[in-house]
Every structure is written in C-alpha cells, then in structure tokens.
C-alpha cells in the first residue's frame, strides 16, 4: 500500500480551471472469468450530481471501487480535476479528495460514531474534543443530526447513512460517491438526503450517485450514465428521458408489460397473530400488541422503517423467539410455543431477510442447501426420517434449478458462488417445493435484479392463487403496493395503520412509517386517493402492475 503516492495534490488545493471533476477513459477490470468493466468512459462535471444506473451486476460498484482505490483497473486512466491519478488504495483516493459511501455500510458497530468518523483521518483533528466539535459542526451545517458519542450498534439505518456521509465530509472530500444510498431509506429520508445533496452541490462538491430507483435518479441527477454489462452505453440528460426509456437503455431491450392480478383472498384464516408483545428488557417493548390475520390467498404487506419490529414479528412467528405474551395461530392451532422445526413442518415457508445469515450455508453445495430448513421432510429423508436421502435431494435440486431458473453450472457448486439473485431463486424454489400454507417472505427481492425480481413475484402470485397466505415484509414500497392485498404500517413495534394498496401512494406510506402522518388505526385509512395521478411516475419501474379490483375491506377488520 505504500507503493507510489497519487500524482495529484490533495484536494484541499483549489482545482485548476474548469477541468471536470472526474474523467474516466477506457477503464477495464477483469475478475477471474468475468469482465466487470469494459472500456468505461465518461466525464463528471464539477458541482453536479451524476447518476450511474445499470442492472445488478452491470459493474457499477466495481467501477466505483476502482475510483476509490479499493480495486485497481487492469486498463484505463482516471483523471481527477484534470490530472491523471494512480489510486493504489483508499488513502490515495482520500488524498485526491474522493470519498465513498459503500453499498453495504462500512461501520464498526461497537465503536462510537466519533470513532467511526475519525478512523483513518486522525491527523485532521485528533480523536478527542477537537474532532467531536468538528463533527458537531458538520452535522449542524448539513442538518445531519449526528450524536458523536452514540454507539453505532444502537442506530438505525438512516442514521448510519448520515454517518457515512459525515465520514466523507469530515475528510474534506470534494467528490462524493454514493453507492445505492437510498436502498434502505424511506421516502422522507430520501428527500432529506436529496436536500443534503443539493446543498453539497451548491458548495461545489461533485456527487456520483448509484440507484436502482429511476424516478429518484431523474429527480436528483444533473446527468445520468447508463452501464450495461460492464460498458458505458450512454450518458443522458435527465430532462430528455423518462424512466421507462432509461430502464430500456439499462436492459437493452423492451420491458415486459405490467401484469394484471385479481384478488384471490378467501375467508379461510390461515395465520392469526393475537396481541403479540415482545419485551425489550427495561425499555419499551420491541413488539407491542401486534394483531393481524391472513387468509388463504391473501398477501399481507407490512411497511415500516427498518428496525421497527418487522424482523421480530418474523422471528416470533417462525418460533425463533419467545414472545413475552400473545399468541400465534396457524389455522386453528396455537403454535406460539412450537419450535422452529415444528412450525416449518406444519407448512410455514420462510424467505429470510438476510439470505446469507439465515437462508443458506454458503460453503455447502446447492443440494445441501436444498435440504436446509426441510431436514425432516421428503424428499430429503429416508429410513423414517433418520437418514438424509442425498440422492433424492440432489434430483430435486436439479428440478428446482430448472424450474426456478437458477443460473448455475451444477448443483455441486457452493451456494456462495452464485450471484445474489440466483441464491434467492434457489431459496424461493426450496420453500415453494414444500407447498407451504403460509409463506413468511422478508424482502424477497432485495438486491435482486429486474429479471429475477419479476420471476420471484410471479412465483409468489402463482402460489397465492392456489391459496397461499403470505406475510410480506419489504422496504420496497412499490413491491408492497404491487403485491399486497392489504398493507399494515409498523412503527415502534405497533401496527399504526392499515392501507389499501389500490389507493395508497408510496408517499402516504412513507409518512405513516415515519410517524409523520396520522397514526390512527384501520378505521380511517387509507388517507388520500390521488394515487392514480402519480402512478405513471411511480409505475415506471418494470415490476409495478395495476390492480383492477378492490377487494372487501371487511376481510381485514
């Protein structure tokens, strides 16, 4: 890492003339067997927000990592403020005035905000009071609302995001890279972020910004570069394109039309949750009197800012956690004190929020992952459930791979060597193969690209038609609105509102999720009905669909 220093002077120095902030020329990066970036070239003007869009795996993150010195390009040149630089490590990039907020947060949970921020930049203001003052100063001037002495582990995603930004600003970066900063934020938080970006821009900072949410991109960017399969396709002016055109540029073909779905809700109750309370030690309960009912053929969506109890609802239903009080019924059976395995055997499928932690054994081959979670069920077992039936399990894995289009060379490769979308398809295939009565799906399409996304939705819809009850938890409001029959909002461990997905807008949900909107119960939801006007903007993404029928509200009372 001590190789050669960057050629440019530190960013503190005034940039020369009107040279663009960043110029990329012929950037090529090959990974073993994959060309992640191929001959990338574009220019970013100083003082602008420049968006980069592309499918999953298009090579956006790789490019940004190259720009931040994490990875070295095989070919190509990078010019910062008109000068060619060699970035060997993040420190070189930092010295060149570049700062990056990664797609996955780069924070140490057990350190304080202060420690996280000053780490690596101790020379600027030390690690003591001077640094604390500086942080407070930056936090105040950009309204970040960061407490330097809080422990990061105690903070929610929004706050973490702001710390990441603060980290970059603290280092005096003039060029900011934000890799999918909005993926985990609610609309209000997104707006705040955009306000902050605008402010940064006014101060002459340059922002490089990656997002899959095209409407956002159109709203905030001054310029958009589209990357497809590792190469730059085009750089466009946001005023001259709409989201659909942009999406088509990304995938390189026409998008499939939105599908139409009818309600399949029946009156057979499959999952009932009754006044669940989960104590949180001395403080306020994590779950506070949660009650809902899901019928056969119904999808109940739960909207909420992450960390408001969604994960805990899932864990309680799945038997991974004991509620302090309250009950869970599967059909008529009280499953509150059943064990995970019994619950799964009784027909509850589970698509976990974090597939790496809860859904897969990354070091195990696909066929062993097909057994996971269904160790006691056919076709995985033989001899009365005592032995694992490897042969049948392998054969069935082959079937899943084919039916769910899991792109893999074989079922013997490790799960970890599949891309995220394919991993997710494997999980969905596995869960669906056991014909669950109830499916608990947490963020089923998170981080999955458009193609895989729509196929996952198709599978869920198909199962719903056959009478599956689905509890859908998602941060993607479009997904919630598109898939659910009913949407409940969770805030601080309580269900604070029920909405009809046909009429509600993402903004309404966002307001309710942050507690900014009204917090009353189901009676007076949904709030306003002008969803249609916005639908066109909202529904630019490939996965949205129109709903033609409005179903009975009595069902959810």
């Amino acid at each position: 890492m001590t190789a050669s220093p960057p050629v440019t002077q530190p960013a503190a120095q005034q940039p020369t003339g009107a040279a663009p902030a960043v110029e990329l020329e012929g950037i090529t990066k090959r990974f073993p067997g994959v060309v992640a970036n191929k001959d990338i070239a574009f220019t970013v003007r100083r003082g602008t927000v420049h968006a980069i869009v592309g499918e999953n795996g298009a090579g956006k993150s790789t490019l940004m990592k190259i720009l931040y010195g994490v990875q070295r390009p095989d070919e190509g040149t990078i010019k910062i403020n008109g000068q060619v630089v060699e970035l060997h490590s993040p420190s070189d990039a930092i010295n060149a005035g570049i700062g990056m907020v990664f797609q996955h947060f780069m924070l140490a949970d057990n350190l304080t905000v202060l420690e996280n921020v000053v780490l690596g930049a101790e020379k600027l203001h030390g690690i003591g009071d001077a640094a604390r003052q500086e942080i407070v100063k930056i936090s105040d001037s950009y309204k970040l609302g960061v407490d330097p002495d809080a422990l990061v582990a105690d903070l929610g995603v929004g706050a973490r995001q702001r710390i990441e930004i603060l980290k970059v600003l603290y280092r005096g970066a003039k060029i900011l890279i934000l890799d999918e900063p909005t993926a985990v934020l609610v609309p209000q938080e997104v707006d705040e972020l955009f306000d902050q970006l605008a402010e940064l821009k006014d101060e002459g900072l340059t922002v490089l910004f990656i997002s899959h949410k095209l409407d956002e991109v159109l709203k905030v960017a001054d310029s958009i570069t589209v990357i497809r399969r590792g190469t730059t396709i085009d750089t466009v002016d946001p005023k001259s394109v709409n989201a659909r055109q942009l999406a088509e540029l990304m995938v390189g073909s026409e998008l499939p039309s939105p599908t139409t779905e009818e309600s399949t809700v029946t009156d057979r109750v499959l999952l009932r949750v009754d006044h669940l309370v989960l104590g949180g030690g001395t403080g306020r309960p994590v779950l506070d009197g949660i009650s809902f009912t899901i019928h056969a053929g119904e999808v109940l969506g739960i909207a909420g800012v992450e960390g408001n109890g969604q994960a805990e609802i899932v864990e309680v239903i799945m038997g991974m956690r004991e509620p302090t009080s309250g009950k869970v019924f599967l059909g008529d059976q009280d499953i509150s004190d059943w064990h995970v395995r019994e619950i799964r055997e009784a027909g509850v499928g589970y698509i976990p929020e974090d597939r790496h932690r809860h859904g897969l054994l990354l070091e195990a081959p696909l066929w062993e992952n097909r057994i996971l979670g269904h160790q006691t069920e056919e076709p995985n077992i033989e001899a009365g459930g005592f032995l694992i039936d490897a042969k049948d399990a392998k054969a069935d894995t082959e079937r899943i791979v084919k039916e769910y289009d899991v792109r893999t060379p074989s079922i013997f490769v490790t799960a970890g060597s599949l891309s995220g979308g394919n991993q997710q398809k494997l999980i969905i295939g596995r869960e669906m193969s056991h014909h669950p009565k109830v499916l608990i799906a947490a963020h089923p399409t998170r981080g999955v690209d458009v193609g895989a996304q729509s196929s996952i939705w198709d599978h869920i819809r198909a199962a719903r038609r056959e009478g599956l009850a689905v509890l859908l938890i998602s941060a993607d409001l479009e997904e919630l609105i598109g898939l659910s029959d009913t949407i409940q909002v969770i805030l601080r461990g309580r269900l604070t509102g029920e909405f009809d997905p046909d009429t509600v807008t993402a903004e309404d949900l966002g307001a309710a999720m942050t507690g900014a909107g009204h917090k009353n119960g189901a009676d007076d939801a949904p709030r306003t009905g002008d969803g249609d006007g916005e639908a066109t903007t909202r529904h630019t993404d490939t996965h949205t669909h129109d709903r033609t029928d409005a179903h009975d509200k009595e069902d959810q009372a």
Binding site: F31, P32, G33, V34, E55, R228, R229, V251, G252, S253, L255, P256, M318, M320, H339, V340, R341, E342, I343, R344, E345, Y350, P352, R357, H358, G359, L360, L361, L362, E363, A364, E368, I371, L372, G373, H374, Q375, T376, I381, G385, F386, L387, I388, A390, D405, R407, T408, P409, S410, F412, V413, S417, V450, G451, S454, S455, T542
Partner: protein, 372 residues
Amino acid sequence: MNRLNPRRILLGLSAPVLALIVAFVITSIILVLFGDPVREVWSTILKAPKPRQTVQIINAATVYYLSAIAVAVGFRMNLFNIGVDGQYRVAVFAAAVFAGQAWLPGFLNIIVAIIVAMVAGGFWASIAAYLKVKRGVSEVISTIMLNAIATGVVSWLLLKVADRKEGSNAIATKTIPESSQLEGLKLIPGATNRVYTLIVLAVVVGFLYWFVLGRTRFGFDLRATGRSESAAVASGVNVPRMVMTAMIASGALAGLIGMPLLFGQDHNYGTTFQSGLGFAGIAIALLGRNNAIGIAFASLLWAFLDIQSNALQITAGVAQEIVFIIQGVILFAVVIAYELIRRTDKRLEQQRVARELAAQRKAQPATEGAPA
C-alpha cells in the same frame, strides 16, 4: 464439477506432500543451525520401523484417533472442546475403578466399563455444555478450567480408592481382573507385542463418525450449525440442544480414548497413565481436517513420528523433543498449503462457473427479460 474430480484430488494430495517437504526442510535447517547431526536424525526417524515398532505406531495411532475424533465432533459445529483432556482422564478413572471391582465377568465387564467411561466423559463435558447454553460461558475457558479441576478431583478420588501395591511407589486403581484384560491382536507378523484389541473401537467410532455426520439428519444439523449458526436456527435446528448433544457426544467419545490403554496395556489407572492425549487430539483433528479418513492418516503420521523419535537420543544423541518441532511445522505447513491450494481452487472454480454460465447464456438467449 462433482467432488471426485481428478484435479481436486491432485490438489488435495499435494498439500500434505508439500507440507511434509517443508517440515523436512525447516527442521533440517534448525538442526544445521544448532550443529546437530542432520543425517542421523533423519535416518533414525525415517528408518523403516521394526515389526515391534509398527505395532506401537498402530497402537499409539489408535488412541490418537479416538482423541482426535472426540475433538472433531465439537469442531464440526464450531465448538472448541479443549476439555477432551480432562474428560478422558475422568472417564478412564471411572472405568478403571468400575472394571477393577470385577462385578461382572470378563467380557461383560469390559463392555459395561466402556459404557461407564462414556457416561463419565459425557458427564464431565456436560458441565461445560450446561455453562455455555445456560450461562453463556465460553467453552474455551470452561474446558480449560475443567481440565484442571478434573486433575484435582481425580487425584482426590484416586487416593481414596487407590490400591497400593507392596513395594510400589506408584499409585493406581485396583488392577482389572485378568479375564477382562485384553491380550491384543497378532496383526503384525514378527512382532512380539500386539495390537490393541480395542483398535476395533477406533474403527467403529471412525465409521460411526463418518456415517452419523455425513449421512444422518442429526449429522446434517450438526454440520449446518457449524457452518452457520444463524442459518441453522432458521432451519429449525435447536442450537442449544445441539450444543448440549454435541458436547456430550464429544465427551463420551473422549471417554473412549483411554480404553485401549486401560484394557490392553495398563490394566489400571494411576499416576503413570498417559496424559496429554486430549491436546494431541486437537492437533491431529486439525491436521486431519476433521475428516474421518484424514484423521486416520494424521494419527498414523503423528504416531509414526512419536515412535520413531524414541530412538533419537540413543542413535543420534539429539533431544527427542525435536519431534515436537517437526509436528508443529507439519501442522503449520499443511494448513498453509491447504490455504494456498484453496485459493487456487477457488479462482479456478470461479473461472469455470463464469465460463459455463457464459456458454449457457449463448446457448439459450434471454429468458424473462434478462439482458439479451
């Protein structure tokens, strides 16, 4: 793409070979550096063992094998049972006391004593398991402590039951009746000594280890827990119960370690009984990569070095402890070699995955709106 791929096998074999060569070179350098006779040392260690020594190697390997399997059961689910050492001592003591009473006739006495050993070993391990599951005490600390406590407790009990032989300064439990002493198997022609009859135990244990871990649901759950605790929980594994079970199983297996020695050699438990087997087991399990066959080879290698080094002082005038250096270096070299090979292999695998995917993509263009 399947696991039986010639390239894989070649890579897998090259690691141990590489490691042995590295160990050879490093040890030689040390010997030269300190002016010890390199040639004599290696000719002593690498000399073909006499039949008598072959038997000793097999016997030592038998005991090591049991120990390493006991340790490996824990390792497979990420439990670090350093306590095998204490567990086997508690167990062999209990079994020796029981068998010494000769309540049961010959063979039955052996069988029940073995069960007693397993129960005792399992019980001792269950303390650590309980502390981990209920009180969150890291098994690393608790088993270190329990090893020391086992020493005190066994000593205390040993004094209570000791059968002090006339003229002897050793202290031991009552010798087991002759009808329960196992003479051993005449497996190696030309050897006066015999292979422990209870080598059978090692074979059975090895097979069971492979079968239970590889083929049964329980084994699947155990391995899943080792690979990812969180995923195991979500898949319905009751991890606390699994910890209890695995730890107790590990302890029960640890109980078997002393059995070949007890019935085939010492015939009682006393102050001269072999100690430190649990620690050797850790090294051997790691060397054998927690695999039933791998551990067998590792045990044999370890035993081979041990036995062959016995003569070092006599033939080469070099401290026998040089063998610890060789063993340690082998352990290092093996893991480093495996790591280097793993990296190579991973890179090759990724290349292959990518190539095959590219080929697939060409063969069947764009489904479901994926890029054309």
